[in-house]
């Protein structure tokens, strides 16, 4: 187990470091943008010129999105932040089984005195830790950005919840991709399926929030259960979203394990 873990650290350290740095930097730059360009103020000025009943309607629709916290939250739903987190999750999961089968190295590893449970469990634990580091880097970028640019700080609990919710979202993408990986012999195929699920989830959530006829689909997406704006505004109840995302992780990893422990290798 130690050998597999060491191998995973050696292999993925550069990827993780780069992704964590980018995500942290991205969240830092979002704070810089919020501080230097008063987008909210400009739009509020425009809204103030509207008749009072229109002002009320527009403000309720935006639900605080024009505040500093709303714009920082947008940084977490931004495609770049999403792509970074999902890419790491999908790469780790696709390589865990399908990648090793495709490379033929699974035969080398599993012929050692190592049970399949230890092998699979090590990959899951490593991915959990790696994605947690990634989430923490993003949160750190937000915190540092707020301090550097003198933005109103968030409560530590809110930041913790944000990190946990992001971790659960990318963890769900990992779980689903790991399931595909456990059935597949090609890392590319497993990764493609994983990315397609994540992309579909993201797009359906965006389209559903803009187009009322598609709104019924939104609760079936992973991204519906990721709520940075509500978390940072301090009124999110995370119990249900976290339960759903954790459920996806458990089902993905559980079914993946069920398949992996039975399949002939390589």
């Amino acid at each position: 187990m130690r050998s597999v873990l060491q191998r995973l650290i050696d292999r993925y350290a550069p990827l993780l470091a780069a992704a964590a740095l980018l995500l942290g930097l991205f969240q830092f730059l979002i704070c810089a943008a919020v501080a230097s360009v008063d987008v909210g103020g400009a739009i509020e000025l425009l809204i103030s010129t509207l008749p009072p009943f229109v002002q009320a309607a527009v403000t309720s629709q935006l639900m605080g999105g024009l505040t500093a916290s709303g714009l920082i939250a947008f940084g977490w739903s931004h495609p770049i932040a999403q792509a970074l987190g999902i890419a790491v999750a999908v790469v780790l999961a696709a390589n865990a089984v399908a990648g090793e089968v495709e490379a033929g190295t699974i035969e080398l590893v599993l012929s050692q005195p190592l049970s399949r449970l230890h092998y699979f469990g090590t990959h899951v634990l490593f991915a959990g830790a790696a994605l947690a580091v990634l989430s923490a880097a993003g949160v750190a970028g937000t915190v540092v950005g707020q301090r550097v640019f003198s933005l109103p700080p968030f409560a530590p609990v809110a930041l913790l919840k944000l990190g946990a919710n992001f971790l659960a979202l990318v963890g769900a993408c990992f779980g689903i991709t790991l399931l595909f990986s456990a059935f597949s012999r090609e890392r590319g195929r497993a990764a493609t399926f994983g990315f397609l699920v994540a992309l579909t989830s993201y797009l359906v959530q965006v389209i559903g929030s803009l187009w009322i006829k598609a709104a019924f689909l939104v609760p079936y997406t992973l991204h519906h259960y990721f709520s940075p704006r509500e978390i940072l505004a301090g009124y999110a109840n995370l119990a249900r979203p976290m339960a759903v995302l954790m459920g996806v992780i458990v089902v993905g990893v559980g079914l993946g394990w069920w398949r992996f422990r039975r399949r002939d290798l390589p």
């Binding site: 050998s3 490379a103 080398l108 012929s111």
Partner: protein, 299 residues
């Protein structure tokens, strides 16, 4: 206790019957050949033995332990037939990676193996992807043997090795067997199995045809001998000792020979022989010994 016990092993992949009721055992201190053409089921047997493939029926015991226990592989060394290493690792990091799986069995043979295979520090410092196929094979052998395993499972181990290294490797296997280690040596080359093994199982289309000593195998194998005479080939060749069949064409004759060669060679010495070609026996020749010409063609 046997080092390896294979009992009634059966495996099917869809419509393909990979193994059918395969049984044999290998004693401690024995180098055992597992001989068969490509696709006969040798690799499937070994993959079942290390727990990579699940048998439909039957069982394998490694040093008295069931395959399912990861601890059973603690004292086992395995070289896959289709060896694939982590290409991004250096040779040294790959060997350390393998060693970390067995904290209780340090790589005591590593230095000796590196010397036997002629692997230098420079080779070990290079990334695996920059090494030749032969050097990767040597690295795979060191990885399989560095912890001085009690049971060695080697699937076509000499692929890519030059003759000198093959010779040294065979010496090493004999030395291991002399120290009570169990070795299963899978190959499709009869001559290398003959050179190092005491007994052999012959596998064909997923079934064990026979488990024999090398001596018995030598006696049963039917080999081709081509003889060119200075004058017309004698008509009585088919009746010579050990000749099971003879085909004559002018001065040239092809003989199918079984068993001890010496009586035949003494007889041939009585004729003016110009040339005698006695090629390495092939697997086909073994199947000929067990099945005769018709059946052996399907091997």
């Amino acid at each position: 206790m046997n080092g390896l016990e294979v009992s009634d092993l059966t495996k099917r992949y869809g419509r393909v019957q990979a193994l059918r009721n395969v049984s044999f055992s290998v004693a401690a201190g024995e180098v055992f050949g597992y001989l068969g053409p490509n696709g006969a089921g040798k690799t499937t047997t070994l993959r079942i033995a290390v727990g990579l493939v699940r048998a439909d029926q039957g069982s394998v015991r490694l040093l008295g332990r069931a395959v399912g226990e990861a601890r059973a592989r603690e004292s086992v060394g395995y070289l896959p037939g289709d060896l694939r290493l982590y290409l991004d690792m250096t040779g040294a990091s790959l060997l350390n990676y393998g060693a970390r799986f067995r904290p209780g069995r340090p790589p005591v043979l590593r230095a000796q193996l590196l010397e036997t295979f002629g692997l230098s520090e420079t080779d070990l410092a290079r990334r695996v992807k920059t090494l030749s196929r032969g050097t990767q094979q040597k690295l795979g052998l060191v990885l399989a043997m560095q912890h001085d395993p009690d049971l060695l499972l080697l699937d076509e181990p000499t692929i890519g090795l030059d003759p000198l290294v093959q010779h040294a490797f065979r010496g090493l296997l004999r030395e291991l067997a002399g120290r009570g280690k169990t070795v299963l040596f899978s190959s499709h080359v009869l001559s290398e199995v003959e050179a190092v093994c005491g007994r052999v199982a012959i596998l064909k289309a997923g079934e064990v045809l026979a488990v024999e000593t090398i001596q018995t195998l030598r006696e049963r194998v039917v080999r081709h001998m081509q003889v060119r005479f200075a004058a017309a080939a004698p008509a009585t060749l088919a009746g010579l000792p050990g000749v099971t069949r003879a085909q004559v064409s002018g001065r040239e004759a092809t003989l199918w020979v079984q068993g001890d060669l010496n009586p035949l060679l003494r007889e041939l010495a009585g004729w003016p022989v110009e040339q005698l070609i006695f090629p390495e026996p092939q697997l086909e020749d073994i199947f000929l010994g067990y099945y005769g010409p018709q059946e052996s063609r399907h091997a």
